[in-house]
């Protein structure tokens, strides 16, 4: 069940209605757990047992780690990483479409299971749960653990909210406390960015696929990379905004996932603005335990490369994802000694140049996301620097590209004060116009890009 389907709308309405009935007040957590299981099992019921194994297994390790943290915490983390590794990286070693894999039916069954939607996200939730909660004395209830891991707005693609931030929020919720306007603003913004921006741009960036991209003119290759940059932002920001808005409806606050990433003036700043919940997670549970920046310059650089490389592989088992992560790590390493000097220069021109450079690099590296087959990505990239020989290039409408990208550009570059003060009175009209436009001008239905991770 996707966020953009009518079935999902009905699902949310029914769950919302039941959730705030006085009769269900004592069972709100259980109701959300059942609803989340329904949501997850709607498309892939065969994967529900896997979700149960992940949750029950993690809960067991939490209980054991409360008795002996030094032994059971690493075991719990290893259990979750093994789950992730098996389901995400088995495709590197076995052809899962083959009728007989190893000849043992239970193993064949496991090997032939598809990639469980959201596994990368709920495994990271599990690890956060193990690390954060085992520092305390009491184990949370099983229902709380279940809700934290499988809460439907964040189950499939995050935000990866830390257990220490989510579990304390669990408690009775009342209809009178719901922040309706806040929820509506998040949800409308999310759907608008997904339906109007991302889905329309997706039509154009479909020309970036192999072998279609070989028909493109050189300048159109460049244009499409920038459009994809806007698309992936609109798609993932849209998803995150919908998730945050839905959580508000049920009385929960999820982590903000994006903060205008394309105005970043450095790569380190970019990672504090893009997919914030993942970068925070990696910093808390990987970079700092590796030693962070406390063990000398060389070790800091190595840690950055390891974290970014693994961050790339977290997205998928492929050379393109690894390359994307490693190159980001490389950029972080290169800029680190220059950061202080650049930040000390008080010049609008320099700041603008920094912003443009970071945006350009980040945008070009998205090619490895769009084309997970490494040879295709390199082919596309190479074609951006040589004249096109295509005899019959497709016609792209630049004005249409601009109009579909405009919301991302306005969001990033319009002065905040304009919206927060002068246009505050016009806010409901603006959201109403967005609602109309996302219905009238919605692009063809496509899955959220981050669903594949």
């Amino acid at each position: 069940m996707t966020f953009t389907s009518w079935q999902f709308g009905i699902f949310v309405a029914v769950v919302f209605g039941l959730y705030y009935l006085p009769a269900f007040r004592a069972l709100q957590v259980q109701l959300l757990v059942v609803a989340s299981l329904f949501f997850y099992g709607y498309g892939q019921p065969e994967l529900l047992p896997l979700l149960a194994v992940a949750v029950f297994g993690t809960y067991l390790f939490v209980v054991l780690a409360l008795r002996n943290r030094s032994i059971w915490l690493p075991m719990g983390i290893a259990f979750n990483l093994a789950l992730l590794a098996f389901f995400k990286y088995k495709f590197l070693f076995v052809d899962t479409t083959s009728p007989a894999l190893v000849g043992e039916s239970p193993i064949d069954f496991l090997l032939s299971l598809p990639l469980p939607i959201g596994i990368s996200f709920f495994v990271f939730h599990n690890i956060s749960l193990l690390v954060d909660l085992t520092k305390q004395k009491d184990a949370p209830s099983l229902a709380s653990v279940f809700l934290y891991i499988i809460f439907f707005p964040q189950l499939v693609s995050g935000p990866i909210t830390r257990a220490g931030l989510f579990i304390p929020q669990i408690g009775p919720k009342f209809l009178a406390d719901v922040q309706y306007v806040d929820a509506a603003k998040w949800i409308l913004t999310g759907y608008f960015f997904k339906l109007y921006v991302a889905n329309n741009l997706n039509e154009m960036t479909s020309y970036m696929s192999f072998p279609l991209y070989e028909t493109l003119q050189t300048q159109d290759r460049w244009l499409l990379v920038f459009l994809y940059s806007y698309q992936i932002y609109a798609d993932f920001f849209g998803y995150s905004a919908i998730a945050i808005g839905l959580a508000v409806l049920f009385g929960y606050r999820l982590t903000i996932n994006f903060d205008l990433p394309y105005i970043s003036k450095s790569f380190s700043e970019f990672w504090t603005r893009w997919h914030i919940s993942l970068s925070s997670w990696l910093r808390t549970y990987l970079y700092i335990p590796l030693g962070g920046n406390q063990k000398g310059i060389t070790r800091t650089y190595l840690n950055l490369m390891i974290v970014m490389g693994l961050g790339g592989l977290w997205h998928g088992a492929g050379l393109s994802y690894l390359m994307w992560g490693v190159l980001h790590g490389f950029l972080l390493v290169i800029e680190r000694p220059l950061l202080g000097r650049l930040q000390s220069i008080d010049s609008t021109v320099v700041r603008t140049a920094q912003m443009c450079f970071v945006f350009l690099c980040v945008t070009v590296l998205w090619i490895f996301f769009k084309l997970p087959h490494f040879d295709h990505a390199i082919g596309y990239l190479t074609g951006m620097f040589v004249p096109s020989t295509s005899p019959n290039p497709p016609k792209l409408f630049y004005n249409l590209a601009l109009l579909y990208s405009l919301p991302v550009i306005i969001q990033h570059f319009a002065p905040r004060a304009l919206f927060e003060r002068r246009l505050r009175g016009a806010e409901p009209f603006l959201y109403g116009a967005m609602a109309a436009l996302m219905y009238l001008e919605a692009g063809p239905e496509t899955a959220f890009i981050y669903f594949q991770f």
Binding site: Y180, V181, A184, L188, N200, E203, M204, S206, Y207, P211, E214, T215, T389, S390, P391, N392, P394, L396, F397, N399, L400, L403, Y404, E427, P428, F429, Y431, G432, A433, A435, A436, L437, Y439, L440, E441
Partner: protein
């Protein structure tokens, strides 16, 4: 719920409603005549299908894949002709749509080079009954762009377009080196086995031909010329053998008489503009004898 919250939702809802109403009114008043810009080749096909569903039934209709999609309507001297070929689609999709209309063209030409693709049931459903294809609301952003593009590039008449393309014939065939594209197309064709899909499609084409001819239309099959290397590729040969075995009668086929030395396939598969125009001339000649 607080009054401020209620007011917020009322303003938001009213704005949405007013904009939808305005767009609905504008669509009913002005919207249907405007040619929308297509961002993909599928969009281009949809424009043609929209026109087919709205305008008077033509004398001749072509259905096919992206190979036939390249035979632009403005290349044809036959004016009452529509090309319903779908880039990336199956000829059966177009044939189903034509067969589901209450009135039929005199002649339906069915390309049979690519028969391994499944019918697009969504398109068939959408365009099968005349009058159902009109949207309630047009897309405002695309409408603005369409108006601008139409203002910038005023549409040429059929005669102007035809004479412009006729000038192409005075030029020599392209000397573009396409061997990379041909090799890739052949490699892809050699790895595919279209037998099952082609058999299903050929059977459906046979049923549709029977239905169309019982209602008075004439249906002819044709195969567009491909490069020599691709003609001999595995999946192309399999498809050709299956369709010729099912339709062995020579009068079921529209013969395309062209000099192959004049034809070029710039991307390895599709005819380039000049070659498409040459092929169209041959089809024009054959069709004029049948009308």
């Amino acid at each position: 719920m607080q009054m401020v919250t209620v007011q917020w939702f009322v303003k938001c809802g009213l704005t949405t409603a007013v904009l939808l109403l305005a767009c609905g009114f504008a669509t009913a008043r002005f919207g249907h005549g405007l040619q929308m810009p297509s961002t993909t080749t599928r969009d281009g096909s949809l424009i043609t299908l929209n026109r087919y569903a709205k305008e008077p039934i033509p004398d001749v209709v072509l259905v096919g894949s992206s190979l036939t999609f390249r035979l632009k309507e403005e290349y044809f001297a036959t004016t009452k002709l529509r090309n319903l070929a779908l880039a990336g689609g199956s000829p059966v999709t177009g044939l189903e749509i034509v067969a589901n209309q209450p009135r039929l063209p005199k002649i339906v030409l069915v390309e049979t080079n690519v028969l391994s693709r499944a019918t697009d049931n969504v398109l068939v459903e959408k365009y099968s009954w005349r009058g159902n294809a009109e949207p309630l609301f047009f897309r405002p952003v695309r409408t603005v762009v369409a108006s601008y593009e139409n203002w910038l590039h005023a549409p040429v008449t059929h005669a102007q377009a035809f004479s412009a393309h006729a000038r192409l014939l005075k030029q020599p065939p392209s000397d573009f080196d396409n061997h990379v594209y041909v090799d890739r197309a052949v490699q892809q064709s050699n790895t595919e086995d279209p037998t099952v899909a082609t058999q299903i499609n050929v059977q459906r084409i046979e049923q549709l031909i029977l239905a169309l001819e019982q209602r008075g239309a004439r249906v002819l099959l044709f195969q567009l010329p491909l490069s020599k290397e691709l003609e001999n590729a595995r999946s192309i040969k399999i498809a050709r053998d299956i369709v010729h075995a099912r339709f062995p009668e020579s009068d079921r086929w529209l013969t395309i008489n062209v000099s192959r030395s004049e034809l070029r396939w710039a991307d390895g598969v599709h005819l380039d503009e000049r070659s498409a125009f040459i092929v169209v001339q041959s089809i024009d000649r054959a069709v004029s004898l049948l009308l």
